[in-house]
């Protein structure tokens, strides 16, 4: 089981969290202006990298707050956690 480092509560078991998929996917500012292909991209296509991935988690059975994390999809280690709205931190 993953140990998820909630930025407010500290490390907790994965079973307390729900997963929110890729972070930083903004709703299009002008949906009407998008082509079908661009709309499809927004609706259905997400990054799926082998390696560091910026993603959302919610501590749903804890503080109930959303946050972002950079996690390596091969090692499962959390490389950074940060607040919603903050940019992706530099990973050294």
């Amino acid at each position: 089981m993953l140990s998820v480092p909630c930025p407010w509560c500290g490390p907790r078991d994965e079973t307390e969290f729900s997963y929110g998929g890729q972070a930083h996917v903004a709703h299009p500012a002008e949906p009407d202006a998008l082509s079908d292909h661009e709309w499809s991209d927004y609706l259905f296509v997400r990054d799926n990298p082998r390696g560091p991935f910026a993603e959302r988690w919610c501590h749903s059975a804890g503080c109930r707050r959303w946050f972002n994390a950079v996690r390596d999809t091969v090692t499962h280690s959390f490389l950074a956690v940060y607040r919603i709205g903050d940019p992706v931190p530099e990973i050294s």
Partner: protein
Amino acid sequence: MTAAPDGAPQEHPSWLWRNPDPKPSYDVVIIGAGGHGLATAYYLAAEHGITNVAVVERGWLAGGNMARNTTIIRSNYLWDASAGIYEHSLKRWEGLAEALDYDILFSQRGVLNLAHTLQDVREGIRRVNANRLNGIDAEWLDPQQVADVCPIVDISPDTRYPVLGATYQPRGGIAKHDHVAWAFARAADAMGVDLVQNCEVTGIDVDRGRVAGLRTSRGPITAGKVALCAAGHSSVLAGMAGLRLPIQSHPLQALVSELLEPVHPCVVMSNAVHVYVSQAHKGELVMGAGVDAYISYAQRGSVHTIERQMSAALELFPIFARAHVLRTWAGIVDVSPDASPILGLTPVEHLYVNCGWGTGGFKATPGAGSVYAHTIASDAPHPLNAPFSLERFTTGALVDEHGAAAVAH
């Protein structure tokens, strides 16, 4: 029994295929020597006469999801498009041992999909009717009929999620996954296909919108056509050609018990409680769980997923209470937005994609292989895979099989 080429002991079975070095050039290179890749190579050679083909594999032959699935075969999906491709596959399974001259231990022992809620019941009956309209064997069973087919299922009304009925496909069943891979590999190899193991693709060269070749850990290979067949790693490979796929890679876990006397006569699946169980020919109970929530390429999942799956299994099958877990494992599955595969052309000329089978690709091995081979050979989709194009995510013509696929694809 003959000696292996490297003089291995006589007890070892004969090698079923050569282990060649890659040639500098092929007409078609298939990436991924799992079930789908091997089947595609076989049908390219057997049905289209294309034998200047390599299947390149990062690890060893059939060592990915082909070694990790729960071997369930069925075709009782809801929509016409799915009925077409999955039933095509089931028909291929029915003649496969003969076609490949190899015993794949294909056993049509029947598949039950249990219903535990009123919604499950309504959807199950709807699916039975849809299946029948598509000529697929399907029956709706009440709880007593479920017990008649599978006496060890607890149908009493006082369980946490009582069994309210089930869909039943008598022609569904299981096969021995390793034998399936070996049978396809042997037959493809005999027709001249090169099965190249320990050969990792590190780049895909595209020249003016057309695929030109591959860079691999064993040197560059020029290729007239390139066919992706890499399940959970499809996004990584497609990225090498500048494509983004609507695929998310998740761990999917399964487990087996120690060997037991035959107790379980069929395949039982339950979407509501997240479990599917059969008993392998050797005697292990084979069970699968739902996917872990997070994106992963690690071929391992979280233990609570297995724990939940086991508690669901025990609720349904009290007789399993004293069975021991022998081992658990995970594979990386390629989940698409509509729980249906992506099989067809890509925006890059002569680059083809077969992915998105998610948690249920094994059952499609011969069917997907044959229509993928057709797609590659004629540079156009077969009518059976035309609905499963990449473009459907732009046109909106999705094939939503979350009901029939769900956890227990």
